[in-house]
Amino acid sequence: MTGQAPTPVQMERQRQRARRYTRPGFLIQLALLACLVAGPMLMPSFRVMDLVAKIMIFAVAVASFDIILGYTGIISFAHGMFFGLGAYSVALICHYSQPVQYHHLLLAGLLAALISAVVAVVISALSLRVKAIFFAMVTLAVAEFCHILGYQWSSLTKGEDGVSFKLPGVFNADWSGGSLWGTQINGRLLVYYLILVVAVLLFVGLVRFVRSPVGRVLKAIRDNEQRATALGYRVFRYRVLSTVFGSLVSSLCGALFAMWLSYVNPDTVLGTPLMLNILLMVIIGGLGTVYGGILGAAFIKIAETWLPDLQKLALSLWPKVEFMQRLAERWILLFGILYILSVLFFPKGVVGTLRDRAEVRRLRRLGRP
């Protein structure tokens, strides 16, 4: 290409490259990152920090689910299970190694990645050749199996009681390192920053993945499988690749989640409510957008923190009516209804709808009627 005038496409690319650091999207990302870093210093409230840490973890988990569902068009009901596998890897290794050390965390992370990769490869190799429906059914069965296993293999998992454990060294909740500019430096805070770093890295990895050539092939497959096959892409391999990648990220999110809580049990990290939450977040955020994961996770997690207050309100309004009390306890019911409504009437989610609007505006600017 040397010595030749750049083509219009290349010129457009260069122009976009030059604007890369001044785009509004980039600035928003920067601001968000700054808030996440400075947040605990400026607002030393545990409740807020807890909320933000969970949102970060779930944003990545949901974005990784979006790789499978939104970008590849496959429904995996095992995403929650992979999350749980990661969580249990950390919990069990930290619980059973005395004394627990830093390399155990690393080991747990590797184990989580390894197990989830192997399981994902096996499941998808078995069932992805057939219709997407089959994959959904198989993952649902396997996920439910793991959930039950979590209960019943009590010699290892302690069943319903769950596993509580201590993190090594500076990540231990009891560790304290004095204070810096008026902020307590303790194990919790360091775990928060660990989560922040890992979550940002994973998220960047996900965004890179969908923008890579592989990501484009996945979109091509989703939109028209036959055409992609005819173009010579090995559809099956790409599907397996994306499923395995998404599942692996999910298990790492689970590992972070377990570290944050220092506790896991089958219902919170393996059960169907978790899966429903992830589904709800991805639908609300918008399928096939990756960034939607952040919004979806934030919305649901914030709602979850506020719901207990709403319950109290409901209880104070109808103190005697037992039926109302039971209704107030069942916030999953509300989420379920919200979920159905959004699948029916808001299928593109927040980010998807916004992008559509932006696209329409862009076309209009280009002078189309």
């Binding site: 078995l126 959904a136 439910e144 639908i283 069942r330 019911l333 979920y339």
Partner: protein
């Protein structure tokens, strides 16, 4: 019907709770635990009837309000029926309670027959007979009757069937209702058999149903029948040897079958 309905487990649970409620109410009349044989049989029949009705009504509602909007879109079908199943299970928890309930069963239905030293649970016999009857009935309707032809044709191509003068939407609603009603009856029988029901029973049984259908091959009643036999036998056999591995054994069978025949035993490539 080319609709993947993950809410089937919820119909199952609703049937069980409907039967439970009816038996409870009838027990107030003294029919169930202390009644005569006739009253016992009648109350079980009423329980099954209630399950049939509730299953039909729920099926009608779900099909008309939700599923009809997403025909032809498998992804949305799966997503939405998953949500519906969740909501239905939660409503059970609101109406009754999140905890286990004990089902009152007429005395004449508990206990067992003793045939040449083999002890056979009475209700199990009833269940097997009903199961076989349903299988035979479904097969006969699908293969021999005009309705069966219309349904099979509709699964393949709704548009053509419509242009031949059949209101396929209404027919499919009916099929969906029938499926839901059958699931509910199955649920209430299960409840009576186990004498214990929980809101989560739908999910648990859905897993079995899914494994059965995966093994048997989708869209094949005979395949499902074969699958059910395999799953049932394996489950009970393993449950007898190593109780905790029973479900694992079924997953293993599923994996092996999928390795040999990716479309299931009787499934056809599409």
């Amino acid at each position: 019907m080319d609709v993947l309905n993950l809410a089937h487990g919820a119909f199952f649970a609703w049937g069980a709770y409907a039967g439970f409620a009816v038996l409870n109410a009838l027990n107030g009349l003294g029919w169930v635990e202390t009644g005569t044989l006739g009253q016992g049989i009648l109350s079980v029949l009423l329980a099954l009837l209630a399950a049939l009705a509730i299953g039909g009504v729920l099926g009608l509602f779900l099909e008309r309000v939700i599923i009809q909007r997403v025909y032809g879109d498998h992804l949305k079908q799966i997503l939405i029926t998953m949500g519906a199943s969740m909501v239905l299970a939660e409503v059970i928890k609101v109406l009754w309670s999140p905890n286990n309930q004990t089902v009152l069963v007429p005395l004449s239905f508990t206990g067992s027959y003793d045939v040449m030293d083999v002890v056979i649970n009475k209700f199990r016999v009833v269940a097997i007979v009903v199961g076989l009857a349903v299988y035979a009935g479904v097969m006969a309707v699908m293969q021999k009757t005009k309705l069966g032809i219309i349904i099979r044709a509709g699964v393949e191509n709704r548009e053509v069937v419509q242009t031949l003068g059949y209101n396929i939407n209404r027919i499919f609603t009916g099929v969906f209702m029938a499926g839901a009603a059958l699931a509910a009856v199955g649920g209430s029988m299960w409840g009576i058999f186990r004498e214990q029901i929980t809101p989560a029973m739908g999910d648990e049984n859905l897993i079995f149903a899914l494994i059965v259908v995966i093994i048997g091959g989708m869209g094949s009643v005979t395949g499902s029948f074969l699958g059910a036999c395999m799953v049932g036998l394996a489950f009970n056999y393993v449950a007898y040897l190593v109780p905790k591995l029973a479900l694992g054994a079924n997953i293993l069978i599923m994996v092996i079958i999928l390795l040999i025949k990716p479309w299931g035993l009787m499934g056809r490539e599409q």
